[in-house]
Symmetry: C2
Subunit: 246 residues, 2 copies
DNA sequence: CAAATCCTAATTGTCAGACATATGAAAATT
DNA sequence: AATTTTCATATGTCTGACAATTAGGATTTG
């Protein structure tokens, strides 16, 4: 593990890369302790500040964790699905909000991936998953629910659907796709009428999963995609009109 | 934006969180300049080291970028799809290699998501995508190709399939699923016979996309999933046997 | 002897001050 | 007017110091 002090890149970036490569390639294994900051200083021939900034970069990616005290230090971290989820969600959300991804594109991706879960979820969903979905459907029917709360419940419903597939890798991959849509969905004003329609479709989905019917689940999801797309396009059209003639 | 100096959490973590929240919630917009380090020190009433470590954490997540010089500073970064890809791949790879995800689970997730791309890719793939796939198929048939190179070409083939869907959000989501499998695939020794079978299935996929047939694409992908699973399970069985009677 | 307490060494977290380096803009020079 | 120089500002790195935390050993105590 060497660095190039004459490189234009920051030393702390180089050091972080070197350590990251060692972790990804398996030279450093889970729970292994890295050398102490002082030892890393000597090894890379840099100051402690530089080493520390490199370690903070790695900690931000959950690649290492640090512990204070006598037997402390930096340890290679076994990244948990939960940590990976939240990183994925942050990245996906920013990606969608900053890169002007169209509502259509985001919606298409989300439902295409969600439909991929349908056959697995139909086959494996537990009673727990169904109960969660029914509970969220009930909440969505409550009068006086704000649009934000309605969207949050919608996310919870769809996560239960995805989790029903019983594949943690899919749950992880889908977390970003489903949750990152929430800011876009929050822009939609849900009328009583549109909520009713969405809830009906949610019921169809829950019923189809209850009956373990993959085709019916996929069909209901496709219908929900079409309807969501309509709602989104209406909002976009209104906004465009408002901008054109204020 | 406030922090709590009496909290057990590190100050640099708290500061990073505060700034991250401001970015995610939209209080800080793309390309906006953050206060200088000195100003942040004053604002949060901490030393410069602490502020800098917080900024390095955010830089590691591509949330900000820094520039030196007179008009330099830290700026809210517009995260690009490329940056998001590589982060996703790093996280996914580690998640799979560190959490003892079974070959079956990873394989199932990958092909389920890939099948979700099939209809879109069948409808939209360009001549470029098809050419890339044909080229990779040709490379895979070259004698003397190492197993690693064969796997790398396999990844390139599948990325072309996914990119053919013409949906950058899906490409981003799938990047992790496809590339993270590579270390697992690299453990497989591909015999001439198994390569032949895989290449034949790749041809089927390319032909189906050429003919814009979604069902045929999905069928070929499912067949490839079954075959990959068989290969993987054989390897795992051999390993188990080798461990049992060394 | 056992248990509780104290002490110590190691390690990370934070701070202050200094200098190096990069960079744009203003000022001076040609 | 064009070029060069200077300068102010900002981040990058280094050094040394001290605080906070923690495990484990040494010491005291019941």
């Amino acid at each position: 593990m060497k660095i190039d002090p004459s490189s234009p890149a920051d030393l702390s970036v180089q050091i972080a890369s070197a350590i990251r490569d060692a972790i990804v390639s398996g030279q450093l294994i889970v729970d292994q302790r890295l050398p102490s900051e002082a030892e890393l200083c000597a090894q890379f021939e840099v100051g402690r500040t530089t080493v520390r900034e490199a370690l903070k970069r790695l900690a931000a990616q959950s690649l290492i964790r640090t512990q204070r005290g006598a037997t402390g230090g930096a340890f290679v971290n076994r990244i948990s699905f939960e940590e990976a989820y939240s990183q994925q969600i942050t990245t996906s959300t920013l990606l969608l909000s900053m890169n002007a991804v169209s509502f259509e594109t985001a919606c298409e991706a989300r439902y295409a991936l969600e439909r991929a879960c349908a056959p697995l979820s139909a086959a494996r969903r537990s009673a727990d998953h169904l109960a969660t979905m029914r509970a969220e459907i009930h909440r969505q029917g409550q009068p006086g629910l704000t649009d934000e709360a309605f969207c949050a419940s919608d996310v919870a419903f769809h996560r239960a659907l995805v989790d029903g597939a019983g594949n943690p890798v899919m749950s992880y991959q889908l977390a970003g796709a489903v949750e990152a849509m929430q800011p876009l969905m929050n822009m939609i004003t849900f009328t009583a009428r549109s909520r009713e329609r969405i809830i009906a479709l949610h019921c169809q989905i829950a019923d189809a999963l209850d009956a373990q019917s993959a085709p019916e689940t996929e069909a209901a999801l496709s219908e929900l995609e079409r309807y969501t797309l309509t709602l989104g396009q209406d909002v976009m059209a209104q906004r465009a009109q408002a901008r054109a003639a204020p």
